[in-house]
């Protein structure tokens, strides 16, 4: 049976001129053809947000979607990950999600990648027009951020080269609250620019756990952090193993009883051990739909785009706030190069030590390698022997002078951090 007229509603938006549209919007049937045939979108994560994103993208006209997720389906996913059924438990999220979307929406192609995001080469990520993140961890977000920013290049005037921008859309939820944000490397802030948006995790001091427990959570952490390594040193703890979780619960329960602490439950034990962030279908759906809408706007310009962060709070009525966060001009991941002041006589070794000790830059570094243009100044691994002699040389002998940009690589980074050297005056003067 024919499906003529299937895209009627989305076509109103794509084929008619509007008054509130993005720059350069030219309505016409070509836009949907582009979405269906040529545009490539990647969904990172096939969980609560991912399932919604896949559905929303497919029903917004995107015809070629890839999805990557290393996880398998768990019973506790079924309250929100609507593409999965009880009999799917244990199977690949990415693969089942892709199948279900293609079964339901004729003509849409979804390619599943059941692996870690780190398993894919940079080329893989390069092929997409837009990347949509449905992740629940900061670490994974930072990794994808460094991937997207690694493609970014700047011209001589320090302006981002538009053809190298890999835009991303990110969503996240907790209970009745969520956020959607647009990341255009070089234009809007990247995750590293606004790391402070992510609250730090609470950690209990060890002495509290060992000596003065006061709450069920203290007893649970004690069982997991102190008792497990002591009593089961041969097993590595696995939070997804029910026997392990029950063991921690029993031990925590005994400790709570010993100290007279009330309120210990198995549910709480799981929550503390796995750091469970409560997730529900509705909030995921709000955030994923907003993210999809932004991806659609970004690709088609059919309406004005989000600048650049939207917060949603559904606990007391409904409250939303859009905030134009600003880039950190000194961001080592997305800026044209962080300025770093050194004396020209500083040796390469001293420079490297200084970078690692720097409060801003050091957090991205553990054992950096340094290059300048195509020259390896100091490399870890196989080239270490060949480059070691440079460590003793003053930096002014290794680069072309004031304003030179060196590339600092580290296993903590996906792509090089660009550091613009600024020679500090007094020592420079003495040298000349």
């Amino acid at each position: 049976m024919g499906l003529e007229g299937r895209w009627r509603d989305i076509d109103y938006l794509l084929t008619r001129q509007g008054n509130v549209v993005g720059p350069g919007f030219e309505p016409g049937p070509e836009i949907r053809e582009f979405l269906q045939n040529d545009c490539r979108v990647l969904v990172v994560g096939a969980g609560g947000l991912g399932c919604e994103l896949l559905k929303d993208l497919a029903l917004s006209g995107f015809g070629n979607i890839d999805v990557i997720d290393m996880d398998t389906i768990d019973v506790s996913n079924l309250n929100r990950q609507f593409l999965f059924r009880m009999h799917d438990v244990g199977r690949s999220k990415a693969e089942i999600a892709a199948q279900r979307i293609m079964q339901r929406i004729p003509g849409v192609s979804v390619t599943a990648h059941h692996c870690m995001i780190q398993d894919k080469p940079l080329d893989f990520y390069q092929q997409f027009h837009v990347i949509v993140l449905g992740l629940d961890s900061l670490e994974a977000r930072r990794y994808m951020n460094s991937v997207a920013c690694s493609f970014l290049e700047y011209d001589e005037d320090g302006q981002p080269d538009l053809s190298t921008i890999k835009p991303m859309v990110d969503g996240g939820t907790e209970g009745f609250k969520g956020h959607a944000r647009v990341l255009i490397p070089g234009v809007t802030p990247c995750f590293e620019c606004t790391l402070w948006l992510f609250p730090p995790q609470t950690k209990f001091p060890l002495c509290t756990l060992a000596e003065t427990p006061r709450s069920p959570a203290h007893c649970i952490e004690y069982a997991k952090i102190i008792l497990w390594p002591k009593e089961r040193s041969d097993d590595s703890f696995d939070a997804d193993c029910e026997e392990h979780m029950k063991w921690v619960y029993e031990k925590a329960l005994a400790r709570a009883a010993e100290f007279g602490i009330q309120g210990m439950t198995y549910q709480l034990t799981q929550g503390v051990v796995k750091n469970i962030i409560p997730a529900i279908a509705s909030t995921n759906a709000i955030v994923a739909a907003q993210c999809t809408l932004e991806a659609l706007k970004m690709v088609t310009m059919c309406s004005t785009g989000l600048n650049n962060y939207m917060m949603y709070v559904g606990t007391d009525g409904v409250y939303t706030l859009t905030t134009p966060y600003e880039r950190d001009e000194k961001c080592p991941i997305c800026s044209a190069g962080v300025s770093y002041e050194v004396s020209p006589s500083t040796t390469l070794q001293q420079l490297i030590d200084g970078l690692v000790a720097d409060p801003d830059l050091g957090k991205h570094l553990s054992a950096p390698s340094v290059s300048y243009g195509s020259t390896n100044l100091y490399m870890r691994g196989a080239l270490e022997g060949q480059t070691r002699h440079n460590l003793e040389k003053p930096i002014s002998e290794l680069v072309d002078g004031e304003g030179s940009v060196i590339h600092v690589n580290d296993r903590k980074l996906v792509s090089a951090m660009k550091v613009r050297l600024k020679f500090n005056g007094t020592n420079g003067h003495m040298e000349t």
Binding site: R8, G18, V20, L59, S60, F82, I280, A281, A285, I286
Partner: protein
């Protein structure tokens, strides 16, 4: 047993948000959906996943190709079949413990022929009804005491309107709470406990494990004695108060020992002079006439509010019942647990006093005083400071010129923050009038989009004029901008999937609030503006 275990696993993440009692309320909910477009099916999808009891879909349409372009809960195989039936089958697949049924009839005809049909439901979700249809279903639901959510997805505009005469909320679950510690006005047991701890005589380990609450009670007491009974008020005084705390720290060779409890005391010193307050919302609830006249029919919420009022006037001496829980504090286990016990005991005593008032009130109203379980009174007292009440006006009151709140509408149209979304609200209503006049929505035909824009604008102006709001015509004085009129015509009442998904998901959150009695539902019309990624709530 296996079923129960599976359920607690399956619904674990939701239960962490609304508790086992919230989940029970959801599992008892019978939901009726009017119209199985994407707005409706997305709302139900989110609720079926959460584990409601059952749903019934009312829709008289057949599945068309355009449905397959915006609705995930229909299948290509179902083309030309009953939309209610196909949607019901797809929804049932999502959760085998939820029962689903359908009625193949248009909502309008069912409302007219059998209004009693709706009385069996806990919640009715009415989607994509025109204003006239919405007013009708609102009347039916109010008559039967059934909660109602009205939803629209219209191009890049979304609309969510709960309609409940009165939502009484005990567990409003505010994002931030101030600890209820009574540091500057301890009750006798707490005061005695603080006095029993001898700061000067304590050996070092004990000294560094005295909970900060005790340190602050002692400091507040000493400060008052030295300052005519006053608490620190000015900035300088507050600094001096913190210095007083620091002066109690142990020293070795003039260097203060690291005592974490003192660090915490200094960081929490504001709790002495800034205790939790009584919000304007709670004040209004206490003064509400429902609490002044307890009858045979009064819900237990109002009985308890009346009892709460008596408690505040009598035993509480102006204070609410103690909440009873305390935050973690650096302390020895034994000291902390003792402190915890003292707070709990006081909370229990306060709740018992409230309970006694409640029983007297029930008796006076000719009701069984034992009908109110102690657990409910305790629960109420624990949350008393954050009670909330939401009353939605009926849709007829909101839309009829004689009763609509024209001043609020005028203000919303002229405030920079809400002007666009208030204009969208007006345009949605104007589009319904357009439809009533021309039997089509504006922008339905490519060739008539511009002409329709002019007609839509005059409908909007007529609506504003009826409410006594002039100055329409896109001027700064209010009214609707031509840009937005154009955008509303551009989308021709299309139901975009993403907009429907947002509306359906906001609606599911609101439904969960209405069904569990937790969190605070929207008290008016919520407008979602997908162009600007904003929302506004209007109580017109």
């Amino acid at each position: 047993m296996a079923v129960v275990a599976d359920k607690s696993k399956r619904y674990d993440r939701g239960i962490r948000v609304w508790g086992a009692h919230g989940q029970e309320a959801l599992e008892a909910a019978r939901v009726c959906l009017l119209n199985a477009g994407p707005t409706g099916t997305e709302t139900l999808k989110n609720l079926v996943l959460g584990g409601i009891h059952s749903f019934t879909v009312v829709d008289g349409a057949k599945v068309t190709p355009a449905d397959l372009g915006n609705n995930f809960l229909l299948t290509a195989d179902g083309l030309a079949a009953s939309r209610a039936q196909v949607a019901t089958e797809c929804l049932k697949e999502l959760n085998e413990s939820v029962a689903g049924s359908y009625v193949e009839e248009s909502p309008r005809s069912l409302m007219n022929s059998n209004p009693d049909f709706f009385r069996h439901f806990t919640l009715v979700i009415a989607t994509q009804l025109s204003e006239a249809g919405a007013v009708t279903i609102d009347k039916i639901c109010r008559q039967h005491g059934v909660r109602l959510l009205l939803l629209r997805s219209y191009g890049l505009l979304g609309y969510v309107r709960p309609s409940v005469p009165e939502q009484r909320i005990v567990e409003s679950k505010p994002d931030s709470k101030v600890d209820d510690l009574r540091l500057s006005n301890p009750w006798p047991e707490l005061e005695a406990y603080a006095a029993s701890i001898d700061l000067a005589g304590a050996e070092d380990v004990l000294h560094s494990h005295i909970p900060y609450a005790v340190l602050l009670i002692k400091a507040a007491q000493q400060w008052r004695q030295e300052h005519d009974g006053q608490l620190p008020g000015s900035c300088a005084e507050r600094t001096a108060f913190k210095d007083l705390l620091k002066s109690w720290q142990r020293h070795i060779d003039g260097i203060p020992l690291e005592e974490e409890n003192f660090t915490e005391a200094v960081a929490n010193a504001h709790k002495v002079w800034a205790p939790p307050t009584v919000s304007s919302e709670l004040r209004a609830i206490l003064e509400d006439s429902c609490a002044a006249h307890i009858t045979q029919q009064s819900p237990s919420f109002w009985v308890l509010v009346a009892a709460l009022k008596r408690f505040i006037e009598q035993e509480g001496q102006g204070q609410l019942p103690l909440e009873g829980s305390i935050p973690d504090m650096h302390a020895s286990t034994q000291q902390y647990l003792e402190l915890q016990r003292i707070y709990r005991a006081k909370a229990d005593a306060d709740a018992a006093a409230v309970e006694a008032h409640a029983r007297n009130i029930l008796e006076a109203a000719g009701r069984d005083p034992a009908s109110l379980p102690t657990s409910e009174v305790k629960h109420f007292c624990k949350h008393a400071r954050y009670l909330r009440l939401v009353r939605c006006r009926s849709l007829a009151e909101e839309t009829e010129p004689a009763s609509c709140r024209a001043d609020s509408l005028r203000a919303a149209l002229s405030s920079e923050e809400t002007a666009a979304n208030a204009a969208l609200y007006v345009l949605l209503r104007a589009a319904d009038r357009f439809h009533a006049t021309y039997q089509r929505y504006p922008g339905s035909f490519d060739s008539e989009v511009e002409e329709d824009a002019a007609l839509l604008k005059s409908q909007a102006n007529a609506l504003l004029a009826e409410c006594g709001i002039s100055g329409a015509g896109g001027s700064a004085a209010g009214g609707v901008s031509d840009d937005l009129v154009g955008e509303v015509c551009r989308c021709a009442a299309g139901e975009l999937h993403v907009v429907a998904a947002v509306v359906g998901a906001i609606a599911a959150q609101e439904a969960i609030k209405l069904l569990t009695g937790q969190f605070v539902p929207v008290g008016g019309a919520l407008v979602y503006n997908a162009m600007a990624c904003t929302t506004s709530v209007f109580a017109f």
